[in-house]
């Protein structure tokens, strides 16, 4: 938890109660959330609480490396905790389609210096969806 708040400050962002609460949601919940879901949970803690603020904070948290955006083929934004400790070691995410848990995949065939089919690679995105050990048992 501490670690994430440090990242926020390092990114030049202020440490507000809203932001702390949002980070806590992700740390405790261990799942990925949409802005609306975050808002729903946040409203329980704060009397007055605006959805636009949630959107802005989620993007701020992405900018300073606390969260990562996750692609789903719906029209919503999805965010998950980016738990790569100590900076930007290259990794992707695997998401449990039952409970929403997000884990990391460290090994990845792509790296941005490699060339594929004559393309100079600029960036890449990978996401794996599956059922986690816990949910498989259930």
């Amino acid at each position: 938890m501490e670690h994430y708040l440090v990242k926020l400050k390092e990114g030049g962002f202020k440490l507000t109660p809203r932001r702390q609460a949002i980070v806590e949601l992700f740390v405790d919940g261990k799942s990925h959330l949409t802005p609306e879901e975050v808002w729903g949970k946040l409203k329980k803690q704060f009397d007055r609480c605006g959805l636009p603020g949630v959107y802005r904070n989620l993007e701020s948290l992405v900018k300073c490396g606390v969260l990562t955006r996750i692609q789903q083929f719906d029209r919503k934004k999805h965010y998950g905790l980016c738990s790569a400790l100590h900076g930007a070691s290259h990794h992707h995410h695997i998401t449990c389609i039952k409970c929403g848990k997000v884990d990391e995949i460290k090994d990845c065939a792509i790296n941005d210096t490699k060339k594929i089919k004559g393309y100079k690679i600029v960036s890449h995105f990978m996401q794996v969806n599956g059922v986690c050990a816990g949910c498989s048992k259930g």
Copy 2:
């Protein structure tokens, strides 16, 4: 071109002028397009032409395997030609960020029978963005 129209019919879809024109756009343009972009080009060919029809047709073309959806981190849908001949051989896409050209990547470390970190893999998505040979020269 012919090949794609066959796929449409095989999928139980009618072969309408709209659909042929849409497929042609992708075949000729060799790039990925948003529904709005498709609509813009289509309006030049057809006097009356509705945007909802474009959305529906693009989804139909995905269903029969002619097009594939491509993820970008904007709020728009993106479609590209799915040029895997003769059925669903597993592949991903590499997109040129300059000209929008889409190519295929055949080798992929992930396959859906494998297990990662205890997860039973259900599906995965990969996209690579780069600059193609042609655009690198320019």
